[in-house]
C-alpha cells in the first residue's frame, strides 16, 4: 500500500476523482475525456504547488518515506561492478553502513552509505541505519583504501543518527565519528557527499565531510532531529513541527546558509516517484564533480576542503 501524507490529501482526492470519472465513463460509455484531461491538469498543478512549498516538517516526512530509495538502490542504479566490502577489522561488520568499490560512469570509486532497510526484518538487520562505531571505522578503512589507490570517495548520508547504545559507548562512538571528521578533512582524494534522506547530527557528518556536499531536494540535514530538539528545548514531543521550522533543516535553508554546495532536484512528488530519474541526476552530478576535482592537485584539493568548512559559522567581533 502506498503511503500518503496528510499534505498529499488533495492529490489523493484528485486521483480518486479521476478514477471515478473513468469508471463512470466505462460503465455508461459516455466520452468523459474532457473532464479527465481537466482533472489531470488540475492534478499536475496541485502536485507542483504542494511539492514546491513543503514545510520543514513535511520535508522530514518526505525524507522518511518508506519507499524512498536508499544507498543500495542508488548503487544498483548508477554503479556497475559493485563489490561490497565488509568489516572494520576490529570488532565486526556493521550492517547500518555499506560500502565497496564500483564503477561509476567509467570511474572506479569507493561508495559508502547508510542503509536503513525497507521492511521490518531488514530494518532490524540494518539497525534502522543507525551505525555503531564499527560502522564509522569500516567507512574510514574503505576511505583510506581509496586514498591509497587514488580512487574518489562517494558517500550517501541517510541516518536518524549514530546509535545511542551501551556497546556503542563502550567502543567509542564519539571517537569513531571524531576520527572520521579529522581524516576525511585531509583525505588526499576527491570526496563527494550526498544527503539522500535524513542527515541527523554526528551520525550524518561522520561520513559527510567532502569537497562537495549535496542534498536531495526533499532531504533534511541538521544538528539534531526535530523530535529530539522538541523534547530538549520544549521538554515535550509535541513541538516537532515548530522545531523543524526553527532548525532550518531543508536543502534550501542549508544552501542559502552556505552549508552545502548544491541541491539536487527530485522528481515531482519525491525521489520514490521516479527512482531512475533521481539516480540519473545524482550520477550526472557525481561524474561531473569527479572530473573537475580529479584535475586539481592534491594539496589544493585538501586545502580548499579545509577552507570551506573553516569558513562556516557566524560570529560578531
Amino acid at each position: 500500500m502506498e503511503t500518503t501524507f496528510d499534505f498529499e490529501k488533495p492529490i489523493a482526492d484528485l486521483l480518486m476523482q479521476i478514477e471515478k470519472v473513468n469508471q463512470v465513463a466505462e460503465k455508461t460509455k459516455v466520452d468523459m475525456s474532457a473532464t479527465v484531461t481537466e482533472l489531470q491538469g488540475k492534478l499536475e498543478e496541485t502536485r507542483k504547488e504542494i511539492y514546491s512549498s513543503l514545510s520543514g516538517w513535511q520535508k522530514v516526512q518526505m525524507a522518511r518515506h518508506p519507499d524512498r530509495p536508499q544507498t543500495l538502490d542508488y548503487i544498483q542504479m548508477i554503479c556497475d561492478e559493485f563489490v561490497e566490502l565488509h568489516g572494520d577489522r576490529n570488532v565486526r561488520d556493521d550492517k547500518a553502513i555499506v560500502g565497496g568499490l564500483a564503477k561509476l560512469g567509467g570511474h572506479s570509486v569507493m561508495v559508502i552509505g547508510h542503509q536503513k532497510g525497507k521492511n521490518t526484518k531488514e530494518r532490524q538487520f540494518r539497525n534502522f541505519g543507525m551505525a555503531n562505531p564499527e560502522g564509522y571505522r569500516k567507512a574510514l578503512r574503505l576511505m583510506r583504501m581509496a586514498e591509497k589507490f587514488g580512487k574518489p570517495v562517494v558517500t550517501f548520508v541517510d541516518t536518524m543518527g549514530a546509535y545511542p547504545g551501551i556497546e556503542a559507548e563502550e567502543r567509542g562512538q564519539a571517537e569513531a565519528i571524531a576520527r572520521n571528521l579529522l581524516e576525511m578533512s585531509v583525505l588526499k582524494v576527491p570526496v563527494i557527499c550526498i544527503i539522500i534522506g535524513e542527515g541527523a547530527s554526528g551520525g550524518a557528518i561522520g561520513i559527510g565531510v567532502g569537497d562537495k556536499v549535496y542534498m536531495l531536494e526533499h532531504s533534511w540535514y541538521s544538528v539534531i532531529s526535530p523530535e529530539s530538539c522538541s523534547s530538549i528545548l520544549w521538554r515535550s514531543w509535541d513541538y516537532k513541527e515548530k522545531a523543524a521550522e526553527c532548525l532550518k533543516l531543508t536543502a534550501e535553508n542549508m544552501y542559502s546558509n552556505g552549508l552545502i554546495d548544491g541541491i539536487l532536484p527530485e522528481p515531482l512528488g519525491g525521489a520514490h516517484q521516479n527512482p531512475t530519474q533521481m539516480a540519473e541526476t545524482i550520477k550526472d552530478q557525481v561524474v561531473k564533480d569527479i572530473l573537475a576535482l580529479s584535475s586539481k592537485d592534491v594539496k589544493t584539493l585538501v586545502n580548499e576542503r579545509i577552507e570551506k568548512f573553516c569558513s562556516m559559522g557566524v560570529v560578531v567581533e
Partner: protein, 280 residues
C-alpha cells in the same frame, strides 16, 4: 522534663564553639555535603578535601590552576554569538545570549589564553558550562580554530579543556559544521607536529566529544567526569534498560581505552607540564 532530646552530633554545638563564617564564603560539597570554605577551595584547586570530589569550575578557575601565577593573555575575547537562524524556542536565542552575558560575565562558552605552565609557553582553550550549558556554536568553533592557527603560527602546544553538553541547538547546522571545522584544524595542528592535549571534564557529551575532545594526542580526564556521545537518558530510552553502574564515567572511558589517564586536579599542572616537556 524533656519531651525529646536533641542528641544527634553537630546539633548541640555550644555557641562559643561555633565558627564565624560570613555569607558567600563557603558552599557545600555536592558529593559528601560537607561545607567547603572558599579559601580552602582555592587552596585545594576546587577539589573537596574530604571526599576528593572535583567541583564544576569555569575557565577563570582552570586558568588560575594551570597558568603560572595566573598570568596569561586572553585571545579572541571579543568574539560573540550572532543569531543566524533567528532561532526562537520558548525564548528567543538573542534573549538567551543576553541573559547569559548578564549571568556569567562571559562572552561565550569558551575562553582562550596564551601563558606559561611551569615556564613552558602554551595556549589553553577552556569551555564554560555556565554559558548555555557549555554548548558549542559558531563562536566556540571559531575560537578553537583561531587558537589552533595561533599555535601553528607561534609553534605552541595546545590544551583544550572540554566541559559541554554538546552542540548548540540554537545555531543548528552551523553548530554541526563546527565539528568538521575544529577537527580539520586539529589535523593541521597534527601536521605541524605540535602536541594537542584534550582534557575532558564533567560533563563532556554530544558533538563536543564526537569532535575535538576525542582527538588529542593524549586524551585525559578528571575523576568521575561524565563523558559520552549520547546522553544517559537518551540511551536509557533507546535500549529500555537500566544503565550499568559507573557507565560513561571517566573511569569507564579509561577502561575501554579512550583515555590515556585520569588526573586529580591538584596534580594536573605538574603532570601536563611533565608530559609536554617530554614530548617537545
Amino acid at each position: 522534663m524533656a519531651w525529646f532530646k536533641r542528641d544527634r552530633a553537630g546539633i548541640n554545638t555550644a555557641t562559643e564553639n561555633k565558627k564565624e563564617a560570613p555569607d558567600g564564603l563557603w558552599n557545600k560539597c555536592p558529593s559528601c555535603k560537607k561545607p567547603l570554605l572558599k579559601s580552602e577551595q582555592i587552596e585545594n584547586k576546587y577539589v573537596c578535601q574530604y571526599c576528593g570530589y572535583h567541583l564544576r569550575i569555569g575557565s577563570a578557575e582552570y586558568f588560575s590552576v594551570l597558568f603560572d601565577d595566573n598570568q596569561f593573555t586572553e585571545l579572541f575575547g571579543n568574539l560573540r554569538s550572532a543569531d543566524p537562524l533567528n532561532f526562537e524556542d520558548t525564548k528567543k536565542y538573542t534573549e538567551r545570549i543576553a541573559e547569559s552575558y548578564a549571568k556569567t560575565g562571559l562572552n561565550d562558552a569558551i575562553r582562550c589564553g596564551h601563558g606559561k605552565i611551569e615556564g613552558l609557553d602554551l595556549v589553553i582553550a577552556c569551555m564554560d558550562f555556565t554559558f548555555i550549558g557549555g554548548s558549542m556554536g559558531s563562536v566556540v568553533g571559531e575560537k578553537i580554530a583561531r587558537s589552533i592557527d595561533y599555535c601553528i603560527e607561534h609553534r605552541l602546544p595546545f590544551l583544550l579543556i572540554s566541559k559541554s553538553g554538546g552542540a548548540r541547538m540554537m545555531e543548528a547546522a552551523f553548530s554541526l559544521m563546527q565539528m568538521a571545522k575544529t577537527s580539520a584544524k586539529l589535523a593541521l595542528l597534527g601536521e605541524a607536529k605540535l602536541p594537542y592535549i584534550s582534557l575532558l571534564t564533567d560533563p563532556t557529551t554530544g558533538g563536543v566529544t564526537a569532535s575535538y575532545a576525542m582527538l588529542g594526542d593524549i586524551n585525559i580526564a578528571e575523576p568521575g567526569a561524565l563523558i559520552g556521545f549520547a546522553g544517559p537518558r537518551v540511551i536509557k530510552e533507546t535500549i529500555k534498560k537500566d544503565l550499568p553502574k559507573g557507565f560513561q564515567t571517566a573511569e569507564f572511558v579509561l577502561e575501554h581505552g579512550f583515555l590515556d589517564f585520569i588526573i586529580d586536579r591538584r596534580k594536573m599542572k605538574y603532570k601536563i607540564a611533565t608530559f609536554l616537556k617530554n614530548i617537545l
